[in-house]
C-alpha cells in the first residue's frame, strides 16, 4: 500500500512541476504602475535605501520603486544576468565589473539624462576612463565616492603635537617620532588580503600614472617600470606596523586602532563605522597619504563607490530617470553621505563628515585620482600577490610576476584594446 503512495507522490510531483512551468510562462502585467527595480551592491546602506523606497513610493503615483540591497549582490546580479532577468537599474561601484558590464553591453547609454550636468566632472572622467575601450556614451551616474588615505587618532596627535605630513620624508619622520614615544605608528590587518591594497592605492596615485593599467594594455610601458618606486616605498612602511601584520585581519586592526593601540591606520573612510562600533567616543580624522617628495604631485585617492546604471533591458527609461532625480535630490544625498561617511559625486554645498576634514581641500579642488585596483581583474588576485610580496619582500620577483600575470589574466582585454587602437589608427 505504501508503495502506491510513493507512486502517487511521484505523479503529484510531476504535476506540480508542470504547473510551475505553465505558471512561469503566463505571468502577466496586471498593474497599471510602472515598476522600477534597483539592485544595489552596498548592503551596509540598506537602511538608507529602504527609506528612499518608502519616500519615493509615497510621493509618486505612477511609478512603484523597489530597491534591494542584498549581500553578495555581484553573485545575484550575475545569476540574474545569465537568466536574462535584468533589474531596471543597478547600483555598483566604479571598478572592473563596471568595465565588463559596459563591454558586455548590459548597460544603457544615459548621456541624455539631464541630471548628469550636476555631477562632478572629475568622477565622470573616472567613469569614462574605466571603459575598456573608449565607448560612445555615458553608462553610469556617479553617486557617491570614497577616499582612502590614512586614518589617525586625533586626540593622540593633539596630545603629542604631531603634525600632518605632506611629503614622504615628513611621513617617515613622523613615524620615527611616534615610534620614539613608544607608540605603534601604524596598524595593519594584512591577514585579510584586500587590506593590502589600501596603502598601495593611496601611494600609487602619487607615484604612478593614473592610467598605468591602460598604458600597459596598449603596450607602451610595463609595471616593473611604473611600480618599482611604489613597491620599494611600501616595504619601508612595514617596520612601522605590528611585528606580525599577517596574523591580524581587518577586524583585528579596526579594534586595535579603536583601542588606541596605534596612532594611524592606512585604510579608506569606509572603515570608520567598524572602528566607531568598538569605541564610539573616538575622534578619527584622516589625511592624504604622502608618497612623493614633491608637494605638487599630491592628490587624493578617490573613486566611484556607488553609481547607478540603467540596464539596456529597462523598458521605461523615463521612469528610471525620475528615480535618479529623486536619488540625486540634495537632501537625499546629504542623508546618504551622513550615513556612509561618503563623498558626494554631485557638485554643491554638502556637509561632509568630520573624518574627512583632512581631505576636504583636495575634494573641494577636485584634485582626485582613481584607485589603481579598479583596473585590476579580481581573478588575478593582486591583493594576494601584494600580501605575498610583503611577506617575501622581494621587489624584483613581485614586479616580474605582476607583469607576466597581467599579460595572462588580461589576454582578452589586451587583444580588444590593441585591435581597437589598430582600427582607429587606420581611420
Amino acid at each position: 500500500m505504501k508503495g502506491k503512495r510513493i507512486k502517487y507522490l511521484g505523479a503529484a510531483l510531476c504535476c506540480i512541476m508542470t504547473a510551475f512551468v505553465i505558471q512561469g510562462c503566463g505571468k502577466a502585467a496586471n498593474d497599471q504602475k510602472i515598476e522600477i527595480e534597483i539592485v544595489q551592491y552596498k548592503p551596509e546602506a540598506a537602511a538608507y535605501f529602504e527609506m528612499v523606497e518608502d519616500e519615493f513610493n509615497a510621493t509618486h503615483d505612477k511609478i512603484s520603486l523597489k530597491i534591494s540591497s542584498p549581500n553578495d549582490a555581484m553573485t545575484i546580479l550575475r545569476t540574474r544576468f545569465i537568466r536574462e532577468d535584468y533589474p531596471d537599474m543597478i547600483g555598483i561601484g566604479g571598478d572592473i565589473n563596471y568595465s565588463y558590464f559596459v563591454d558586455a553591453q548590459i548597460l544603457a547609454d544615459v548621456s541624455d539624462y539631464k541630471g548628469l550636468a550636476g555631477i562632478n566632472q572629475g568622477y565622470l572622467d573616472i567613469a569614462e576612463s574605466l571603459e575598456l575601450v573608449p565607448t560612445e556614451g555615458t553608462y553610469i551616474v556617479p553617486y557617491a565616492a570614497n577616499a582612502a588615505g590614512v586614518l589617525y587618532n586625533r586626540d593622540m596627535f593633539e596630545e603629542h603635537g604631531w603634525q600632518i605630513p605632506e611629503t614622504w620624508d615628513e611621513m617617515k619622520a613622523l613615524c620615527e617620532e611616534i615610534k620614539a614615544e613608544g607608540i605603534l605608528p601604524f596598524y595593519f590587518g594584512f591577514k585579510d588580503t584586500w587590506t593590502c591594497l589600501a596603502p598601495w592605492n593611496a601611494m600609487a596615485v602619487e607615484l604612478s600614472p593614473s592610467d598605468t593599467a591602460k598604458q600597459v594594455n596598449s603596450g607602451t610601458t610595463n609595471f616593473t617600470k611604473e611600480y618599482r618606486e611604489l613597491s620599494e616605498k611600501y616595504l619601508e612602511l612595514l617596520p612601522y606596523g605590528p611585528a606580525d601584520p599577517f596574523a591580524y585581519g581587518y577586524n583585528d586592526a579596526c579594534t586595535a586602532f579603536a583601542r588606541g593601540e596605534s596612532a594611524m591606520y592606512p585604510i579608506g573612510s569606509y572603515a570608520t563605522p567598524q572602528i566607531l562600533s568598538v569605541n564610539p567616543e573616538m575622534k578619527i580624522d584622516s589625511f592624504v597619504m604622502p608618497a612623493s617628495d614633491d608637494k605638487e604631485e599630491r592628490t587624493l585617492n578617490s573613486g566611484i563607490d556607488l553609481g547607478f546604471c540603467v540596464t539596456a533591458d529597462c523598458k521605461n527609461k523615463e521612469a528610471a530617470y525620475e528615480v535618479l532625480d529623486f536619488l540625486l535630490a540634495d537632501e537625499n544625498i546629504q542623508k546618504y553621505i551622513d550615513a556612509q561617511n561618503a563623498v558626494p559625486c554631485k557638485t554643491g554645498e554638502f556637509q561632509l563628515s568630520s573624518m574627512l576634514d583632512g581631505m576636504l581641500e583636495f575634494i573641494k579642488a577636485g584634485n582626485m585620482t582613481d584607485y589603481q585596483d579598479h583596473y585590476y581583474p579580481s581573478e588575478m588576485a593582486v591583493d594576494a600577490q601584494l600580501q605575498t610580496f610583503l611577506i617575501q619582500q622581494d621587489v624584483d620577483a613581485f614586479l616580474k610576476k605582476f607583469d607576466t600575470d597581467w599579460q595572462r589574466y588580461n589576454r582578452d582585454i589586451i587583444r580588444l584594446v590593441q585591435a581597437y587602437e589598430k582600427e582607429h589608427k587606420n581611420v
Binding site: 512541476m17 510551475f20 549581500n71 553573485t75 537568466r83 579594534t255
Partner: protein, 277 residues
C-alpha cells in the same frame, strides 16, 4: 551486554575531548551577549563575562533576520528535502545496492550517481540558475528538488553500504509468503534501515540547513529568505557585527540540535540486532 560497568577509560577520553567543544561554545555564548564596545584583542577581555546579561542582541538579531519568516522557510525547505530524500534515496539505494553486484547496468548507474558527488558546485551553479529559471523552478520548490538531487549520491552511498549488513534471508522469507518486491521493501527493508534513515536525515538536514549558495543563486532577488541567507546581513566587507551574528547563529542552532537529538535516538534503536537473531 558484555560489560555492565561504566567504561572509565572512555569517560575520561570523552571528558578531555569535550574541552575542544566547550571552549568555542563558551566564546560563542559570551560574544553573543556582549556589546560591540566590549570587543577587544586581549585574551582576558575576550574571555570575560559580558557586563550585562541582556537578550537585546537576540531580539535585535531576530528583527534583522526577520526570524520567524526565515525560520519557517528554512524549516519547510529542510523538512521537505529530508522527507523526500529518505523516501527516494532509500529505495534507489535498495534497488542499486541489491543489484550492482551482478548487473552491469545497475553497477554503472550506481557509480554514475555516486560520482555526481564530486561535481564542484561552482560549475553547476550558472547552468542551474539558467535551467531552473527556464523550467519555472526559480522558487523554493526548485530549491527542494535540487537538494534531493545534490544529496542523492551521498545518501545512496550510505544506504547501499548499510544494505550489505542486511541479510537477503529476510527478503527471501517474505517472498515465500508471496509478497511483491515493492511490498517487501516497504514492509521489511524500509523499517530495518531506520538507523540509516536517521543518519541520512541528520546529514541531509544539516547540509540543507546551513546551505547558502543554492538559495542565493536560485532564489536570487525573490525576497524569500532562509535563515543562512538572512544571516548574511551581518557581515559586509567593511564591517561585521559579530555580537548580533553570534546571537543569531545560536538561535538557528537550536532547531537543528533538537532534530539531531530526536534522530540520534533512532540511530541507537537499531533493529538489525533483533532482526538478525
Amino acid at each position: 551486554m558484555i560489560t555492565k560497568k561504566t567504561n572509565h577509560a572512555a569517560m575520561i577520553l570523552l571528558i578531555l575531548g569535550l574541552s575542544t567543544i566547550v571552549f568555542p561554545l563558551y566564546l560563542t555564548l559570551v560574544i553573543a551577549f556582549k556589546q560591540p564596545t566590549e570587543m577587544t584583542n586581549s585574551i582576558s577581555g575576550i574571555l570575560s563575562l559580558p557586563k550585562v546579561w541582556s537578550l537585546d542582541n537576540f531580539r535585535e538579531a531576530m528583527r534583522v533576520t526577520d526570524f520567524w519568516n526565515s525560520l519557517r522557510n528554512s524549516l519547510v525547505i529542510t523538512l521537505a528535502a529530508v522527507g523526500l530524500s529518505i523516501g527516494i534515496h532509500s529505495i534507489m539505494g535498495y534497488a542499486l545496492g541489491r543489484n550492482k553486484a551482478d548487473s552491469k547496468f545497475y553497477s554503472f548507474v550506481y557509480l554514475f550517481i555516486v560520482s555526481g558527488m564530486f561535481v564542484p558546485f561552482a560549475i553547476l551553479m550558472m547552468p542551474l540558475a539558467k535551467q531552473t529559471a527556464e523550467l519555472g523552478l526559480a522558487n523554493w520548490f526548485g530549491v527542494i528538488i535540487l537538494y534531493v538531487v545534490f544529496y542523492m549520491p551521498m545518501n545512496i552511498l550510505l544506504y547501499s553500504g548499510y544494505l550489505v549488513n542486511i541479510p537477503m534471508a529476510l527478503e527471501e522469507a517474505a517472498k515465500v509468503d508471496g509478497a511483491s518486491t515493492w511490498t517487501t521493501y516497504w514492509k521489511i527493508i524500509f523499517p530495518i534501515m531506520r538507523p540509516m534513515h536517521a543518519t541520512v536525515a541528520v546529514l541531509t538536514a544539516l547540509a540543507v540547513w546551513n546551505d547558502v549558495m543554492t538559495p542565493l543563486v536560485i532564489l536570487a532577488g525573490s525576497g524569500q529568505n532562509t535563515l543562512p541567507l538572512a544571516q548574511l546581513n551581518f557581515q559586509t566587507q567593511f564591517g561585521t557585527n559579530y555580537n548580533l551574528a553570534f546571537a543569531s547563529y545560536l538561535l538557528s542552532l537550536i532547531p537543528i540540535l533538537i532534530f539531531y537529538v530526536i534522530c540520534q535516538k533512532q540511530i541507537l534503536n537499531g533493529v538489525v540486532n533483533g532482526a538478525v537473531k
